[in-house]
Each structure stands twice: as structure tokens, then as C-alpha cells.
Symmetry: C2
Subunit: 570 residues, 2 copies
């Protein structure tokens, strides 16, 4: 499974689709010059191709193992991780004060995209650390920052997120972990956490857990939760890993995929931790980390799609079956249905990536300018990036298997691994249903203002394209107009109805936005060429799905509750 | 993973949706009285619940193994298989002259549906034997029939299909296996076959291979292929398994799922075989088996969907997270998006099952009456059954994982197994793309006559429902009308365009047909109640997808070939 880092594709999207130039025009990101962008993209590309891609199959076949209480990573992962850390790729967008490169999150997203396409299981490790760095930069005390950030940014230590408990998954507020003040500024943290990705391992010298727990006087629900940093080894006076903390890995899960990423059940037995942020304000701090992580997980979906696409394309160009009715290559890539699948994969991949990078640009702009509009834009795009990115990952991996025919079901070809690995991305960091609830709930608390503003931009984009690409522009304009009307209808719905149609609305929004970016790409090449053909494929073949999706949204919950439990069970 | 056989559901579809009464009204199937139907359904249901379902997880965890050239089935499979055979479930619809029950294929399909929902990997074994029985009944000499049919029907021996070779998958005509006449009426068959499900095992005393091979004077391509029966052990004078034939299992595949079903690479080294059917007419005989098998594989998709649905429903009724905004159960089943997923799963499952059983009824009617119209109907429905049944299996299994949240990715819950097992059903017995090519190619060689006749019936059904269910009837009528126009457009397309839109057209057709059956079900309960709610969900939420699908079909291949290889690879 060779992987080729598609540096040109990132450069094109940055330059012509998501207006990255505005990010490098800010004072904060003035260092992100074209030369720096080139160096970052080609450096991360080389690492991904040469070091990480060769580890991917190992991670699947020989997953992480728990041996005598210690987690052993997959063969080669320790060295791969070391090269990620030494290259500075954990801290691409981290604060330079603590050793980070201080580059835009947009570039970091490109780096994560390449690393994930090469080896998703290993990429998850620095991704989690990046989320922790982000949370500490925003919420931790200066002391904690000074102690932990340099170690995390250099990759000497890694970070995890400890939210979920058996009874508290999507409902984080139901958690039972407790933290008792020890009187010396530290806390004794106790409880069991599940689904802790990279919860322990032997690829770095320390593992820092960000743990959500309740203080003795913490109210029930999410308002009574605080956040703590709980290291595996407590740093000594010099800041080096000292005595072992009172925490352990109870077990590792047997998962459908991502075998190279150890998923731990963690037990904290009065483990020493330090509070991050204010008492009872843990969810706010965690949300910083989660929003970052949601963008990151959306990118994971996209990167798996890239890997699966490249893998299927290579097979389709080699495999000969029958005489294709068109085309000139002679292999199955010339069969119309195989070609349709490949073009669909590539078109969805482009749309998902453009959405994610536009999301990253919005975050960077918000950070660089403090402009609340960028903040709002980023918040609106986050559920779209996460859900559409990961749905695309699954759909492209499914198509990749299908293109392989019978060989797709055989593990040796590697096609199935993409699906097995990417499947969880639609679940973790908030299921895609939770993303949709976030989109139609929290993100519409402004009465749709942010959504309407984005739809306005999409329509302006279509107007600008009307002269050169009338059919595509007309289709996108019409879709945006329907989305606007659909958004009006959504806002008029009761919450139960909104939630029932939320996933359909979320997908419709992503399709329209994806079409918008395709249109920009087509315009950028002058309305003729490969990108225009791809835009045409997306806009004329896939975009029309918005009609059925908005129809489903308008249905609301109505008939769903007409099914009683007995009838569903019969 | 308990499985509950849904006997009432089958009875309802038979009685009220696919008009099974016309089958039992024929002379040939006069034995299929309501009492017999009840006995068959409840007997197969009991076997599936009590014997087969408990084997399902074993088959996944401890797949079939090749040891010293012999395949060992998963723990418990031999006993499970014995009970299938002793119950007569291999030969439910086989010829009574050779020990079969002679019942309609429709009933056999219900039996297979239940057995597959309980344990797909084991069910595949009798499914293949049934295909072989069908091929022998139609094409074999009296001698071969007398020797093999009683053993296959009783389940003492099992059957396989040997078509695929490394270079000949979808392109069967590229096969290289050879058969040389030995002068005594038998042939020496040589070649390598791959993807041979249940190619060897220890659950029955003999394995009979139907092998496609070329005679010395066989023309290249599919017209020069003959069919041979090649037993693992050559029957002796008494018809008992005698000396071992010159064939062996080279290896077993490591697959994404269906671990309990051994998938063998078979090597035939001058193995003794006997011709089935006429020289060079092997494909015709194989098509009998394949059409039967395509219905059977469509049913496999449906049965996996049933298993995954029941499994997810049970979880959704138990798992509590947060406070649902509606409903009264308190568990996640009351969350609108979870309920939407469950209702969607159930609605698609019903549609797929109704299509498959209508297909089976058409086959039974063709056999019982010899009426060419039924033959044509069955041929038209086969690709719809196979593709929509298996696509539904995958979609429902995906949703089942999603409903489980993080637990869906953990193998112990069993949600992932449904997806891993069912994934191959969209590939084997002709990929769903091959089904679509069959639908828009071979099945439209009548200029769409059979399709238009079915669309006419759908419109008549909608007219009949207009008084009682005006909104649903109107939606179905409109969809059928669009399908008719779409079919006209399809017929006017060049073959490359047709093939490019074939999968979209195939799905649109299945959705419209599924809506038709939902409407019939709603009418049958008087337009109010659980089935009407389900019909409403399908028709108002899912059916609208036909618009985008037909739009994609109309696009044809046009832009697909505007992507050259370089642009696809960049």
C-alpha cells in the first residue's frame, strides 16, 4: 500500500479555494510564507510516504498489546513516532514560546491529513496530544504550561482525553469520576474511564491524561465538572518523569479496526492531578480540546478516504477484466461503473477536504484577528467538517472495497483495513448524530445568522461563476436557495423535529458547501480542465441529493414516534 | 446476540404483499397450504433461534482452518449443519423425486432468511448446495441426478460453485481451466479456482464441485465453456464416497468477515469429473445456478440486516444516555436521531424483503405455469433483489454500529460482525455493479417491456391506494412516472452512458418498487397502524432519493471520461 503525498492538491486548495493568503497576511501568521508552506507540505509528505505508510499494515496485523500492565505498541510504531516528534510535527501550530512552530492550524491540518492517509492508527497519537496542547495553552496556569507544554510539543510526552465512562458517553454530564483536593494544590482523582485512545504505550516516556471529574461540591450534570491533568509519571523537581502515579490500564479493547492505536480502560485510584482552568468549568476547557479534535477527526476521515482512493485507483489501473466499452487504458478503470466510483470518490474527497481546510482557516483567522465572525464561522463549520469528512471516509473506503471485487474482502489487499480503521471516526469525538444535534441546536442559537451568512457567500460565489459556468453555477445557486429555505423551515421546527431531520440537514449543507468549493476550483482553472470535470461530476451527479435530504428534514419527527416499541420490535 | 425469528412478518408479506396465494393455487405447489407454510416458518425459525444463532460468534472468533490439507469448520458448525440437514432445510424446494420437499422457492427463501440472520457463515453452505441442486435438476443427465441429488438434498454431501480464477472474475470467459475427455464418459479437469466458499470442510462426508472449464475444442470466451461435476471423493458402485479425487485446497483466504465460511483456493490436477449439460453450454447451466444464487445472496443481505436491526434495537431499548426530548421509554430509542435510524433500517429491510419474496414468487409461478411473463418478471427482479438486498444489509449493519456508539467499534458487542460478514454479499455472485449492468443491458433487451409492465403495476397500485392514502399514493405514483420517463431516457442512451448510470438507475428502481410494496402493506392494514407508519417513513423520507438517482442516471458517462488517468491520479 504505497501512499503518495499529494502536495499539489493541498497547495491548490490553500491558494485557490479557501483563501489561505488572508491567514498569512495576518501579523500572527506572517511566518506562513509560500516558502514555509512548501517546506511544511513537502517535509510532512516525505515523512508520511517514507516512514509512516510502511507501518500501516503492521499496525493492523500486530496491534498494540497489554503485557503485564504495560502497553506495547505495534512493530515500528516507536520509531515512526520518534520521527514525527523529531520533525516537530506534533507542534506545528503550537505556541513558539514553548517550542512550537506557531504556524496556522490550516497547515497543521494538511500535515495531519498526510500522516493519517499513511497510517491512521499512529497519527491518532499526535492528534490527541495536539488537542491537549490546545487546551493547556488556553486554560492552564502558567506553572502547568511551563511544565507540560515543552514536553508535549516536543513529543517527549503524549496526551490523552479522558471523558467517557461506561454510563457517560454522549451524555458526558453523567460521569462519576471524583477529584478530592489534597491541600497542596493537587487533587486525588478517582474513577474509571473507557475508550481512552493511546491511553498507555511505550513510544514516549510519559503519558499525560486530561481527565474530567467532579469536585466534592460539583453539581450534577455538565455544570459540575472540572478538568485535571494527571500524568502517568509525576514530574520531579527537574520536570522529568518521576514516581508512577496511581493509575493503570485495566484492559485494551478488541476493535474492528485501528488495531495499532491502543484503546484503554483506565483506572484512576486517587491519582495525583492538577486542575486545568477554573473549578466546575471543565467542560469549557474540554470543548476547546474537542473542537480542535473534531476538526482533527474530520481530517482523519478525509485522510482515510485519500488512502483508500489511491489504493483503489492503483488497483483499477492494473486489473484487467473484459473489454471496456470506452476509454483507452484497457484496465477496469475504463469500465463506466468503476470510473463512476473513482470519480465520485475523488469528488467527495475534494469537497470534504475543502470544507475542513476552510474550517481551519476560520479558526486561524479567529485566533489571528479576534474577530467574532470568524469564531462563529469556525463553530458552524466544525460539525460539517467532522460529519462529512468521516462519512466520506467511510463511503470512499466502501467504494474502494467494491472496486477490488472479491479481492476487496481479502485482508491481504489492504482495502478492508481502510474501512475498518475509519469506521470509528463517525463515532468518536461526538457521533455524527451528536454533530448534527450541535449544528441544529447550539449552532442555530443565533437564529441561523451564521448559516445564512455562509449561504449568502455560496450564492455570491455562484453569481460570480454564472458567466463562465452557467449550468454549474445555476445548479449551485438553486441548491443554496433551497438550503436557505430549508434552514428557515428548520428554524420554525420544534426541537424534536429538528433533531429528527438533523443528520439529513447536515449532509445537505455539506453537499451544497462542497459544491461551492468545487465551483471555485473550476473557476480557478478557467472553467476547463480536470478540476472543472470534477466539479461537474460533483455538482451534476451528487449535489442533487440535497433535494431528498431537505425533504427528509422537513418531515421532522412526525411519523417516527407513531412507531411504538412493540411495532418496532415486531 | 439472541435472534428472534419473525414468523409473523413473513406470513404478512406472503399473504398481503407478494400474493403468495397464487403460488399455492397452482397444481405444482398445491402442498403449500397455510398449515404447511406455518409449519415451515415455525420449524426453520426454531432451528435458527435455538441452534444456529448461538454459533454465530464462534464462527467469527474461531474461523475455519486449514490443517494438513483438511479444512476444519468452526466450533459447533458440524452439529449445526447436521441439524439443518436432518430438518430437511437443504432441500425445502428440491424435487420430491430425489427426497426434496418440493415446496416453493418462496418458502425456501424465508427459511434462508431466518437461517442467515442467525448465522450467515453457516447458512452459506446449504445455500450453495441449493444452487447446485437447482443446476443439476435442470441440466444434468438422469444418471448424475440419480447419483448426486439424493445425497445433496439430504445434506449428506454439499455443493460448491467453481467459476472464478485469478484472471477471470467478473469476466468469466477469461477462464483457463481445462477438461480432457478420458474416453469413459468422464473428464480430467485441471486448473486453479479461487474464492470457493465452503470449498472444503469436515461437516459433511463429501463436497461436490461444479466447475467451469474448457474442452480441448472449446472456443475462447464464454461460448466455449462447459460445466462439470467434480466430487472430492469419487462415488463408488454403491454411490458412497470412494477414492479421493485429484483435487486439493491450496489455501484459505483471510477475510474481513464470514470467518466461519472457509474460502478456498482449489487446485484441480486432472480431477475426474462428469459433464453437466451439453458441451460448450456450461454458462447456460451455470446461469441457472447463479440466478438462484443471486436471489439467495440478496436474501443474505436482508438476513444480515434483520440480525443487525434486532441487535441494534435491543441495545437502543436498554442504553440510557441523557434525557430524550420525546417518547416515553427513557432509553436512547427515544432520541429522535436514533429512532430515525431504527425506523429507516426497518423500512428498508421491509422493502428489500418484499422485493426478494416477490422475486421468488415470480420464479415459482414461472416454474409452476411455464408462463414466459413470469420468467421475464423473475429475470428483471433478480438484479434488484441482489443489489438492493445486499446494499440494505450493508447500510443497516452500518447504522447498527452507529446506534451502538463507541461500543459499535468493539468486537465483543457483535455489531461490527454484521458489517464485516455482509460486506461480501455486494461483491460475490456478481458485484452489484455487474447486477446493474445486467439490469440495463440483458434485462432491457426487450426494449424495457418487462420494466414498463412492472412500472404499470406500481402505478395501478398507487391508483388503488389513492382514496385511502392520498399523499402516499400520490408520491408513489409520481415516483413511478419519473421511473418510466427515466427508463425511456435510459433506453435512448448509448451503452457507455447506460452503464455509467446503471447503479443509480438500479437503486431508483428498487426504491420505487419498495415504496409500492410498502403502500400495499399499509392498505392491507386499512391505512392506519404500524405498517402504515412504516410505509409513511419509507415513502416520505427515503423514496425522494429517486430524483437525484435518476438525475445521475441521465448524466450518463459524459464527464466521467473527461477525467484522464493523470488527472485522476493527481
Amino acid at each position: 500500500m504505497p501512499y503518495r503525498a499529494n502536495v499539489e492538491e493541498f497547495r491548490f486548495i490553500l491558494d485557490h479555494v479557501v483563501d489561505f493568503a488572508q491567514v498569512s497576511a495576518t501579523e500572527r501568521f506572517a511566518d506562513a510564507t509560500p516558502e514555509t508552506v512548501d517546506a511544511i507540505l513537502s517535509g510532512a509528505g516525505r515523512l508520511s510516504e517514507e516512514v509512516l505508510a510502511p507501518l500501516n499494515r503492521n499496525g493492523d496485523l500486530q496491534g498494540a498489546k497489554l503485557e503485564n500492565g504495560v502497553v506495547r505498541a505495534s512493530p515500528g510504531f516507536a520509531d515512526g513516532y520518534r520521527q514525527i516528534a523529531e520533525g516537530g510535527w506534533v507542534g506545528t501550530s503550537a505556541d513558539p514560546e514553548f517550542g512550537g512552530m506557531g504556524l496556522p492550524l490550516t497547515l497543521n491540518s494538511c500535515v495531519n491529513d498526510m500522516m493519517g492517509a499513511a497510517c491512521l492508527a499512529l497519527q491518532l497519537n499526535p492528534l490527541l496530544t495536539q488537542g491537549q496542547i490546545d487546551a493547556l495553552e488556553h486554560h492552564a496556569s502558567d506553572e502547568i504550561k511551563a511544565l507540560y507544554l515543552p514536553k508535549l510539543i516536543s513529543g517527549e510526552w503524549t496526551g490523552t482525553m479522558n471523558l467517557t465512562e461506561p454510563q457517560a458517553g454522549s451524555d458526558v454530564g453523567a460521569l462519576r469520576s471524583r477529584a478530592e483536593p489534597k491541600g497542596d494544590g493537587s487533587y486525588a482523582v478517582s474513577g474509571q474511564k473507557i475508550f481512552i485512545s493511546w491511553g498507555d504505550h511505550d513510544v514516549a516516556e510519559n503519558v499525560c491524561h486530561l481527565v474530567l471529574a467532579r469536585l466534592p461540591d460539583g453539581a450534577p450534570g455538565t455544570r459540575g465538572i472540572s478538568l485535571f491533568i494527571v500524568p502517568k509519571y509525576i514530574p520531579d523537581a527537574e520536570g522529568n518523569p518521576g514516581v508512577a502515579n496511581s493509575l493503570k490500564v485495566v484492559s485494551l479493547e478488541h476493535k474492528m479496526g485501528l488495531h495499532g492505536s491502543p484503546t484503554a480502560v483506565m483506572q484512576f485510584d486517587g491519582a495525583t492531578g492538577w486542575m486545568v482552568g477554573a473549578p466546575h468549568k471543565g467542560m469549557a476547557a474540554m470543548f476547546t480540546m474537542m473542537n480542535n479534535a473534531r476538526l482533527g477527526v474530520g481530517i482523519q476521515g478525509i485522510s482515510a478516504a485519500e488512502g483508500a482512493y489511491q489504493h483503489a485507483l492503483a488497483y483499477a489501473m492494473e486489473r484487467v477484466q473484459g473489454k471496456p466499452v470506452a476509454g483507452s487504458h484497457g484496465a477496469i478503470i475504463d469500465h463506466p461503473d468503476v470510473r463512476r466510483m473513482l470519480v465520485t470518490m475523488k469528488a467527495e474527497l475534494f469537497a470534504a477536504r475543502a470544507i475542513a481546510l476552510a474550517n481551519a482557516v476560520a479558526i486561524d483567522m479567529a485566533r489571528a484577528t479576534g474577530d467574532a465572525e470568524w469564531e462563529t464561522r469556525a463553530a458552524l463549520l466544525t460539525p460539517l467538517t467532522k460529519s462529512y469528512g468521516t462519512d466520506t471516509g467511510i463511503a470512499v473506503a466502501q467504494a474502494g472495497i467494491q472496486i477490488h471485487g472479491g479481492m476487496g474482502f481479502i485482508e491481504e489487499t489492504g482495502a478492508a483495513q481502510y474501512l475498518r480503521d475509519v469506521r470509528v471516526t463517525a463515532i468518536y469525538e461526538g457521533t455524527n448524530g451528536i454533530q448534527a444535534a450541535d449544528l441544529v441546536g447550539r449552532k442555530m442559537m443565533d437564529q441561523g445568522e451564521a448559516a445564512f451568512r455562509l449561504i449568502e457567500e455560496i450564492e455570491e460565489g455562484a453569481e460570480a461563476a454564472r458567466a463562465g459556468l452557467p449550468d454549474l453555477a445555476g445548479a449551485v445557486w438553486q441548491a443554496a436557495e433551497s438550503l436557505r429555505e430549508g434552514t428557515d423551515a428548520l428554524l420554525a421546527q420544534q426541537m424534536t423535529d429538528r433533531l429528527a431531520g438533523s443528520v439529513a440537514y447536515q449532509r445537505a449543507f455539506a453537499l451544497v458547501l462542497g459544491a461551492h468549493f468545487h465551483l471555485k476550483a473550476a473557476l480557478a482553472e478557467g472553467g476547463t480542465g480536470a478540476r472543472t470535470a470534477l466539479a461537474r461530476s460533483f455538482i451534476l451527479r451528487l449535489l442533487p441529493q440535497y433535494g431528498a435530504l431537505l425533504a427528509e428534514m422537513r418531515e421532522g419527527a412526525g411519523d417516527l414516534y407513531a412507531h411504538n416499541i412493540e411495532s418496532l420490535a415486531s
